[in-house]
């Protein structure tokens, strides 16, 4: 069970990551706006312009939280360094992408490189534990799968960042489930990393929820996605993370499957949804438009942006409960 010292440390990591992000977000927003780094909120009738790239605040809050976790759990310092190294590399790729948009093919290749800290520090166990199957020895293949996992997860989370609060809200729910799983598996040092991410995301959600005051940009979404993949690898909870990410996979995979190739949102001619005159959104009936999660939620009729994001968060809540169940099935298998 969790001792009181570990419990207090985890609570401090959460609070500090949240406070740093709360303070940093509006400040970064002012700076990016002053430098003309702005994005258009396309799902509003007013098409308001908002400060872009404010996901930097998530990175700042998370980095501070991770630094504290290294102080509290020095034995797991290597894991924490690998985790934050991965997140910072993915964040840097997002930063470049926000300033000079990268191609749809080059982005996954670059984000795969964010796996380097995990590979170089060897903070992985090449024997993943699979539900109903138990430990599986993949000594040779597992390290090759790590860059793919980082690229897929970071880009899937990036593709979910389409509406106010969608990325931060859904990933916050996943972080909650991941923290529970890490605590249940007796890994408070990894729970500290997960809850640090949760703290940073909840603070960012405060500014990014409908109607958003700031946008996270790829800096935030690629970093957050890579953080989830890194947590899954470090904690050996790969299958539980896949289950938690079902809505994100649904969004990314069906988008890709219906378009037939890797794509950037700006390349899509047939938009999956259209904005109605009353401000609600409606699913496009065009055959060629990608079937995204937003379009699936809108299949039965128009909704407001706020209702759609609430739907995404509820669906992630369902998948997160299933991920905890998956962990439980896996743990039973391990016994």
């Amino acid at each position: 069970m969790l001792d009181s010292l570990s419990g207090t440390s985890i609570a401090i990591v959460f609070a500090v990551a949240a406070i740093v992000t709360l303070v940093a977000t509006p400040t970064i927003g002012r700076v990016t706006k002053a430098h003309g780094i702005i994005g258009r909120d396309v799902h509003k009738l007013s098409k308001v312009e908002l400060p872009e790239m404010c996901g930097l605040a998530i990175l700042l809050g998370l980095t501070t939280g991770v630094a504290l976790s290294i102080l509290f759990f020095p034995d797991a310092g290597k894991e924490a360094v690998a985790f934050i190294g991965t997140v910072l590399i993915a964040g840097a790729i997002g930063f470049v992408d926000d300033l000079h948009p990268l191609g749809a093919r080059i982005k996954p290749v670059l984000t795969a490189g964010a796996a380097l800290p995990i590979l170089l520090l060897r903070t992985y166990d090449p024997i993943p534990i699979v539900p109903l199957l138990g430990p599986v020895r993949l000594t040779v293949v597992y390290p090759l799968l790590i860059p793919i996992a980082i690229a897929v997860t970071s880009n899937a989370v990036n593709m979910m960042d389409v509406m106010n609060g969608a990325m931060a809200g859904t990933v916050s729910v996943i972080c909650g489930a991941t923290t529970v799983i890490m605590l249940a598996s007796g890994r408070p040092e990894l729970a500290a990393l997960s809850i640090g991410l949760l703290g940073a995301l909840l603070a960012f959600y405060y500014f990014n929820r409908f109607p958003a005051k700031v946008l996270g940009g790829d800096t935030g979404s690629l970093a957050v996605g890579s953080a989830l993949a890194a947590l899954a690898i470090l904690g050996q909870v790969e299958t539980a993370m896949i289950v938690a990410l079902i809505p994100h996979i649904m969004n990314a995979f069906y988008g890709l499957a219906s378009v037939g190739r890797l794509y950037e949102r700006r390349e899509i001619r047939q938009r999956p949804v259209r904005l109605l005159e009353d401000g609600r959104l409606e699913a496009s009936a065009e055959r060629n438009a990608p079937i995204t999660l937003t379009r699936l939620i809108l299949a039965s009729g128009p909704l407001t942006e706020k209702e759609i994001v609430r739907g995404m968060i509820l669906l992630t809540l369902v998948s997160s409960v299933l991920s905890v169940l998956t962990f439980w099935v896996t743990a039973v298998g391990r016994i």
Binding site: V130, V140, T239, L296, I297, A299, V329
Partner: protein, 78 residues
Amino acid sequence: MKKLIPLAAIEIFVWGILLLSTLIISKIAFLINLGGETLIGRIATEAIRVVVSGAVVLVWLLIWKKITDSYFWRTVAR
């Protein structure tokens, strides 16, 4: 939020299929052994296991896509 029930049901179904897939992988892919404790033997065995598991995962994704497509187009047509 009644509109979300079919999508939540798809999630639960997909989760069930995922667990079933791991069972199938355990009964097929992980029984494959190309023999020997040599490096080449281990690489070949792991590669074959990953390929077979990948095929099962692909089937899982295709089932998922079929169900979602069917739900979407039927609902939009109403």
